[in-house]
Symmetry: C3
């Protein structure tokens, strides 16, 4: 409808009906838009198992949760090491055993991505953080769980790497790529770390 049509002398009854129909159409379009509107949510893929990158993901996750945003973290591949509470070799095949032996057995063993020098770099970073009263990674993981950050452990990675559920901390949801994409579609902030 153009402006010139609006200026035509109105026929009251028809007009009211036509206007009501236009309002209805508008209401339906708005319903659809509102339902599809991205939410104040954050979805993070934690692919890395490097202490420095994992810390960055938890600083963002706890920061967003503190601001009242919903947060989901999807741990995959090397990122699964963050969630390990113990190493269990029984039931693993040869490659899985090699992978498990060479990977960190818990968040405490994560290396840094640069200047790691067989773990000295990671220890140094932890010391520097403690000196400045920044929470440790383990404290941030606990805080995240308390704040309701959703933690998803990628099933496919777990399967490929032969990591059993008992090796991981509790409070995790098993998930696949569809679960991540579902969260991601509704989130304003999506990061791959």
């Amino acid at each position: 409808m153009t402006v010139s049509e609006v200026d035509q002398p109105p026929q009251t009854t028809d007009d009211a009906q036509a206007l009501a129909a236009r309002c209805l159409a508008l209401e339906e379009r708005l319903d659809r838009l509102e339902a599809a509107q991205p939410e104040d949510k954050v979805a993070i893929v934690v692919f890395s198992g490097d202490l420095d990158k994992v810390l960055a993901s938890f600083v963002i996750a706890t920061g967003a949760a503190a601001l009242g945003q919903e947060v989901s973290m999807f741990f995959t591949f090397w990122g699964l090491s963050v969630l390990k509470k113990q190493r269990k070799l029984e039931g693993k095949n040869l490659f899985e055993k090699m992978m498990a032996t060479m990977s960190p057995s818990s968040s405490k063993q994560l290396p840094v991505s640069q200047m790691n020098y067989f773990g000295i770099g990671a220890k140094m970073l932890r010391k520097m953080m403690a000196d400045k009263n920044v929470a440790s990674l383990e404290e941030m993981i606990e805080m995240s769980q308390e704040m309701g950050v959703k933690m998803l452990a990628c099933e496919m990675s777990r399967d490929v790497m032969g990591i059993s559920e008992e090796e991981l901390i509790s409070g995790l949801e098993p998930a696949g790529v569809a679960a991540f994409l579902g969260e991601s579609l509704r989130s304003r902030t999506n990061l791959f770390i």
Copy 2:
């Protein structure tokens, strides 16, 4: 207009005209909002040439495509190695030849980002995936192309690294950063891998 204005006794003709104008304004605002609404699309920058990260990008891409989402992958820098079908040294200058010789000549030569040990890590990962019946990278690339995933090869990186179009697989679109940003603006999920 406030609620008290709404309560005033209406003058029918004027009212109908005013209401029609308000509907028109609403319709125009909705048109603009709908046109700018982000779509159920995924845009991924594949910067990395590491097998593990590249696999993650294809798991997300094929997963999203299977869910009916439009997907664009923008391959740049080391990520161009994923798209190589052969190495061609003729026509390259000294640095380009060095770069080509030290880079993987196809997706089959990609290293893993951690514990690569001169290619043993990559072979091990491929074996572990096959043991769990996960598609290989080459199968995922083919699946992506069949599913209509848009694959863009960064022209600037190609130019800087001296990689000719004949060295790459077919079915790619040449693209610059503007093409990526265009896709990205319309996408709900944007990832840099």
Copy 3:
């Protein structure tokens, strides 16, 4: 309201009032939707201090700025090295001195993430870019600042790593994770590099 209700014979005055109320409700819903609509903005976390990845972030940043988009870059952790103009050891504790000595003292010293060979890889990449008339990293940083790209330096990282403000280039805004999340929520494109 359903279509059948719309078809009922209207009572003009009531109708006009009811329609005005519906328009008002629609206007208010649209106000809220418009206010929450993501903008044509780009928010980039520059976590990496690798020349190749940093270049990618500036190619995207300057590209987006050239297309008229607002851009914020949030430099954290290794990414702070990009912003260094000098190294200052006085006032630093032992670990901070070690960190400073082993980190690049300015953007000119950044290594590449692959095939760095003690800096030869980085020099080679810079030479290959110059040969193809691509702007250098330092030119891109300057261009970004001239184009109004917002550059935020992560306070927590600066504090943990003991990097003083005088060591960084001018024109930066100090910022925390909340500042990044604020930008990110309003941006259509979010990347972690």
